[in-house]
Symmetry: C2
């Protein structure tokens, strides 16, 4: 047999990863386990300055243009759910990652990993949803790839998209820029995507119809930037929900977040479903919401602009960035007490996007 | 249950796809079945002008910069093989797709789909190989993603990379530009990647050590462009091999290719292995070779430049682009006859990259 020692040379598991010497579902949950994998496995292998920012998208310069560049794979189960499909997520998720740096999304790549034996009509419906979502988000799919894996090594359809967009001059939006005093704004009610997928996956109903909030947020961001380019942070609270997003921002910026729990908009149906199932809306995935850190003087104007936009009309200030308890998110509860909103370890619902 | 009719609306299978109403391995083989899927399923759903070029990478303009943008997913089995690994392929494959438009590759995204239960040491070794390949190719991984799927819905590690690069001014390289009279040049011996993967997959030995040719080709392309910007077509003959690449170019440009079969460099070990297994080297995948269509007056100089480069020192003229038999590749065989080199239906060895 040919010598392949060069490729199979030892790799030793760094300390924090040793608790899980094999991949567990939580490694893909966007929480603490995902972060460990990135910090201790991927960054040492190929990390650079851009990757270490751990933002949703990278800001790079090429040919004089300031670009945002981002990628996500989508493995949501089931492929179709109330309010959307893997095709919608594949567009909106990547478009939103670009928008969270203030970029105007322009072009997408789209790569399918199909499982042998999947009905072509399923692939066709996913592709149509993806095309419709791209048109709605005003981005163009310009390049693609299709691979097929043997039956039993996939799950119908996995999709990866990568996207590039142009970052306007004067815009510098990233988690590290959060500053004490910033107003923390959420663009709308939270938890809908998580509960919508859960309902169809588990065959549950919660009285009210709940549909995923999946939507492209670049238009909303454009409306916000029209008010002021001085927005410090934008983040879409997907896997791990608002809790994960706020903790990441607190950690990256070395600030704290003081949250007013009562101000966080939670639809009744989400609250009911979460109460029934012992889940916390703060940790539920969203696919069409953003959280913004805005300097206090501009906050009111930005909030107004958000509320004037169809995807932000229920926007609300939910807290403030503080110098106290750096790296931590602390919520004032409805009962007047406080609780620490811990970063999630994994995701409550695996394969939510 | 919530109404999800909007997402499950009918999709009807267009005529050419009806022979295979479900996904078959050949749909991922880069041959005629892949092309059918692209033309009749993906293009109607979200195709645009750029996608219709069916090139390895898209050429787009953003912020005044002329960019190449490309993506590929990698599902090769096994993950490590003589001469490389899925990590090397994930870098070199995407770098080469960018280089085939004459672009200078700059930034990569990298997204993993990991199977629950995979040893982290396996993931670590893949990541290290990927990092080493990126450094060797002079590209930076700037953004990434990790998803985990349940055991039994993956195969250890799948990787997607997307890449962006800058296309130099005055360079316009794409399949449609092939012109009768162009010399057809291959950069080196063919078939090594396919046979290397096959050998380790099937536990076969063929006397001689055979290692994958996986390599980043941007440096070789730069050396060629230093001679003349007037190169018409570049293509890396991956899935479906030289046969697929030449047929695609013939189809896209409406020209024919007259091949001198005896001039195609085939290593003895590849020839032996193919003879034993009833395979054709012309259809074997390569991951570090390119085929170039160069106007006759510049061909000798370009060939010289290729031979002076470590990845092109066995470069050879293997045929000529002709006006006869448009869309077809015809080979003059060693025995003085001719044979039509048909486009492959799928790939001889599924999951070769």
């Amino acid at each position: 047999m040919t010598d392949i020692t060069a490729d199979t040379a030892g790799w030793s598991c760094p300390a924090p990863l040793r608790d899980h010497p094999v991949v567990v579902m939580g490694h893909g949950g966007g929480g603490a386990l995902s972060a460990e994998l990135t910090r201790h496995l991927f960054l040492p292998a190929y990390g650079g300055e851009a990757l270490e920012g751990l933002t949703d998208s990278a800001a790079v310069t090429l040919g004089g243009a300031r670009l945002a560049f981002s990628t996500d794979s989508y493995v949501v189960r089931p492929l179709f759910f109330p309010g959307g499909s893997i095709g919608d997520l594949a567009v909106n998720g990547t478009v939103n990652d670009l928008a969270m740096s203030g970029a105007v999304p322009a072009y997408l790549s789209c790569a399918f990993i199909l499982e042998e034996g999947t009905e072509l009509s399923t692939v066709g419906r996913v592709a149509q949803a993806l095309g419709a979502a791209a048109r709605a988000a005003d981005v163009t799919v310009v390049t693609g790839d299709t691979k097929v894996v043997d039956s039993g090594h996939g799950d119908g359809v996995y999709v990866n998209t990568a996207g590039i967009g142009l970052i306007p001059e004067g815009v510098d939006i990233r988690p590290r820029r959060a500053r004490p005093g910033d107003a923390v704004i959420v663009s709308g009610p939270i938890g809908q995507h998580g509960i919508a997928v859960l309902s169809v996956r588990e065959g549950l109903t919660f009285g009210t119809e709940l549909v995923s909030d999946t939507a492209p947020l670049a238009g909303l961001v454009r409306a916000m930037l029209a008010v002021t380019p001085d927005i410090h942070v934008l983040r879409d609270p997907t896997r791990g929900g608002l809790a994960a997003a706020l903790n990441e921002i607190a950690t990256a910026s070395g600030t704290g977040v003081a949250l007013d729990e009562a101000a966080v908009p939670v639809p009744d149906a989400v609250a009911t479903a979460c109460a029934l199932l012992g889940l916390d809306p703060m940790y539920m995935a969203n696919e069409g919401r953003l959280v913004a850190f805005v300097p206090r003087p501009q906050a009111e104007m930005v909030l107004e602009a958000m509320r004037a936009h169809p995807l932000g009309h229920e926007a609300a200030v939910i807290g403030v960035c503080v110098a106290e308890h750096p790296g931590m998110v602390v919520a004032r509860t409805g009962l007047g007490g406080t609780r620490i909103v811990d970063p999630p370890l994994g995701e409550q619902l695996p394969r939510i996007c």
